[in-house]
């Protein structure tokens, strides 16, 4: 029987009396005697000063998430305003601070505590199904998370579990920061391989139950099977306004400098350069213009164009006939 199934049983059979529960759980419900639960909230009594809501209608009860013992606002002020002090409830020696006291959300303090723990665990284990290769891996992950949660709720191996949680949180943080991502990915890959063999060995030793708590050399607290590797997005390409087109001069070679009297003077003129006029741009334009159409023979090309057009004429006339039949213009979009 694994711890997990025990925990589930415990949850299901968790009657208020809690006969099968551990003693420290039972101690949770110290504030309101479980034998005769407080049915009337108006007659609540502070376990420390014994003053009740019967006398003071505006009395507020506070708890500290350290031990979840309920006490009234006056007692908190009185005991903890001069710094940390031990919990006044008999048998609980935890040191409490005033700042941590808050009014509970739930009347059932066990519930309050469970919600807090779940919140804490969820902040560390925040993977989604999309992060896993298969559903099976995700389910294994969820089971691990649930086990950790119940360990904390039921106060089993608390020290060890918290330590692993802390390690895992740090490992995640390191992985998310871009500087160490690659190195960690690499080590994780080797961990995974090692983890698999270990898992197999453990499976053999502990019967058929899968053991996801595979400790490893780097000790990230937990390691999970089937995680999809995070890919670093490719750096964006530099923008090309001409979409790959470029001008390849055929008849001239552009030089850096052309030295012709009237133009050199114009190039040195501050009035020109201040306006952003650059001589190299002028050179390239002027030389390109000098040869644009150098080898274009208008007469020949137009004749070629016409023979081409007459070959397409069949298609053209068909289109024209269709256009004539239809009421709408082919080229213009009829807006109305």
């Amino acid at each position: 029987m694994s711890r997990m199934s025990r925990a589930v049983n415990g949850a299901k059979g968790g009657a208020p009396e809690g006969g099968g529960l551990l003693p420290n759980i039972r101690s949770l419900s110290l504030s309101s005697p479980s034998k005769h639960p407080a049915t009337d909230p108006s007659s609540e009594v502070c376990p420390v000063c014994k003053s009740g809501t019967y006398l003071n209608r505006n009395m507020r009860f506070l708890v500290n998430p350290e031990c979840y013992h309920k006490m009234c606002e006056g007692c908190v002020d009185r005991i903890f305003s001069h710094g940390p002090a031990p919990c006044p409830i008999a048998g609980c020696n935890r040191t409490l601070r005033k700042a941590k006291f808050r009014s509970p959300t739930f009347e059932d303090l066990k519930m309050e505590r469970e919600v807090d723990i779940r919140k804490e665990v969820a902040s560390v284990f925040n993977k989604k199904q999309a992060d896993f290769e298969t559903l099976r891996d995700f389910n294994d992950y969820l089971e691990t998370v649930e086990e950790v949660t119940w360990n904390l709720i039921l106060d089993m191996d608390v020290e060890e579990t918290r330590e692993r949680l802390r390690k895992y949180r740090e490992a995640q943080k390191a992985q998310n920061s871009s500087t160490t991502r690659r190195a960690l990915d690499h080590s994780q890959a080797s961990d995974k391989r090692k983890g698999a063999t270990q898992r197999k060995a453990l499976d053999v030793s502990s019967g058929n139950t899968p053991e996801p708590f595979a400790t490893n050399r780097e000790d990230t607290g937990f390691s999970f099977r089937g995680l999809i590797k995070r890919k670093t997005p490719e750096p964006p390409k530099s923008f090309d306004p001409f979409d790959g087109w470029s001008i390849q001069p055929q008849y001239h070679i552009l030089q850096d400098k052309y030295d012709v009297g009237w133009m050199t003077a114009a190039g040195k003129d501050a009035n020109h350069s201040a306006g952003g006029y650059s001589m190299p741009a002028f050179y390239s334009q002027v030389l390109c213009d000098a040869f644009s159409g150098f080898g274009v023979f208008v007469e020949d090309e137009i004749k070629a164009r016409e023979t081409q057009a007459s070959m397409d004429a069949g298609v053209g006339t068909r289109n024209a006939a269709m256009a004539a039949q239809g009421t709408k213009d082919v080229n213009m979009d009829d807006v109305f």
Binding site: Y258, F291, G295, E299, I302
Partner: protein, 428 residues
């Protein structure tokens, strides 16, 4: 995905839509002339019929003394309209192009602006006839419009002020018409830049700095050496020039070629028939043949088929340029030139007179035609399209009010008050 200079030119509208073979050009002019003269005859006949319908009543009820004197040219009624021929049309257009050139020089327009204006005019009259649209008004607007296209700012007021009798409306009225006639294609590729480029490269060659093309087997030093020995005249004796002399020669060739490009190249059909590169090379060939031929030989081997073909085209173009009467080569004497100018002037006067007889009566008043297309058009007498007078008046009032209010510090009133004003005017 690499483009050569030729590919770049092939993307231009000048190549796609405004380049023709000589046969095409002649055909197009003929078509334009025929359709225009048909329209003129038709419209004149219609006008005369309308007049003939009016005149009998006028002569019936009186002694034939008409108050407005519209009946005086009765004798012309039956005469057939004598339309311009294709050649006469072309002559007219050429004349007005020349005048546009003079106008550009007179108003100190940049070379490009004048040239663009002239090309607009030539393009426009390829598909329209001077009989339909009068060249004088069209050329005025085309020149104004060329200023905008070439990015030379000029206010309408300033431009109009330079004419003794022209109004702003007259200049603006045919503007959209011209733009339509140009098929909304505004870019004109001129050879001026090309000439500058060629000149720059030749100057570098004379200094021995120009990098030869990879296909060429000459080095830059060899090119320079050969340039020094280039004869002055074709087939002349070899020379031995200094760098300074050579550069002076190049400068002269540039100046002459540039003059040809600004004059004859604009006034002939060169832009329709040849590419800008070929036009500047032809002008340069006229200016200094040995130099141009040598320059071409550095681009392509002299016996390559491309260069042979190109040379034929350039010589053809040069012949066209030099055939224009404004091309003053050394041979023409001033007396000869003056006599030619006089004959030319008389011919043109006759043509303009003839044009007055065969104008399309529908298109004489361009200002009115332009207004008819606008929002506030007043209904024309012959029942043309137009808004009702009251509506137009109301709109005009509203607009004037809005304009007045817009000058105020916080701008006009918002919606509500305007509606009230509208109701008021409606009540009136």
């Amino acid at each position: 995905m690499r483009l050569t200079e030729d590919d770049l030119y092939r993307t231009s509208t000048q190549y796609k839509h405004w380049s023709f073979t000589p046969a095409q050009l002649a055909d197009q002019r003929k078509t334009t002339n025929i359709s225009a003269s048909e329209r003129v005859k038709q419209n004149v006949a219609r006008k005369r019929a309308a007049k003939a319908f009016d005149t009998p009543t006028a002569s019936d009820n009186g002694s034939g003394v008409d108050t407005n004197g519209a009946n005086t040219p009765l004798r012309t009624v039956d005469r057939e309209v004598n339309c311009l021929t294709v050649a006469e049309e072309k002559k007219l257009v050429d004349t007005f192009c020349e005048r546009a050139l003079e106008l550009g020089t007179f108003l100190n327009f940049p070379t490009e602006v004048t040239a663009t204006g002239i090309q607009f005019l030539r393009r426009f009259y390829l598909f329209n006839s001077p009989m339909t649209y009068e060249p004088q008004t069209i050329s005025r607007t085309a020149m104004f419009f060329a200023n905008k296209v070439e990015g030379a700012h000029l206010t309408l007021e300033k431009y109009v002020a330079s004419f003794p009798k022209a109004t702003a409306e007259q200049v603006l009225a045919p503007e959209y018409l011209i733009v339509q006639g140009l098929r909304f294609q505004f870019q004109v590729r001129h050879p001026f830049h090309g000439l500058k480029g060629g000149h720059l490269e030749m100057m570098e060659m004379s200094r021995g700095n120009a990098e030869p093309l990879p296909a060429s087997e000459k080095t830059k030093e060899e090119i320079q050496e050969e340039l020094f020995q280039l004869p002055r005249k074709p087939n002349g004796p070899a020379q031995d020039m200094t760098v300074k002399q050579l550069q002076g020669r190049m400068g002269n060739a540039y100046a002459l070629a540039s003059k040809i490009l600004k004059g004859p190249a604009q006034l002939t059909d060169a832009y329709f028939l040849y590419t800008p590169s070929q036009i500047w090379l032809a002008a340069h060939l006229l200016a200094d043949e040995p130099l141009t031929l040598f320059y071409l030989s550095t681009k392509q081997a002299l016996d390559s088929p491309l260069l042979q073909k190109l040379l034929a085209v350039i010589r053809e173009c040069a012949a066209l340029l030099s055939s224009h009467h404004s091309y003053t080569s050394d041979q023409t004497s001033p007396a000869e030139k003056a006599a030619r100018d006089k004959a030319e002037k008389e011919e043109v006067q006759k043509l303009i007179k003839k044009l007055k007889q065969c104008r399309d009566p529908d298109k004489i008043d361009l200002v009115k035609l332009n207004q008819a297309q606008k929002r506030d058009a007043v209904k024309s007498e012959d029942g043309g399209s137009g808004l009702e007078e009251s509506k137009a008046k109301r709109r005009k009032l509203g607009r004037e009010k809005y304009e007045k209010e817009a000058d105020e510090f916080f701008g006009p009133e918002l919606g509500k008050k305007n509606v009230a004003v509208d109701v008021e005017t409606k009540g009136v």
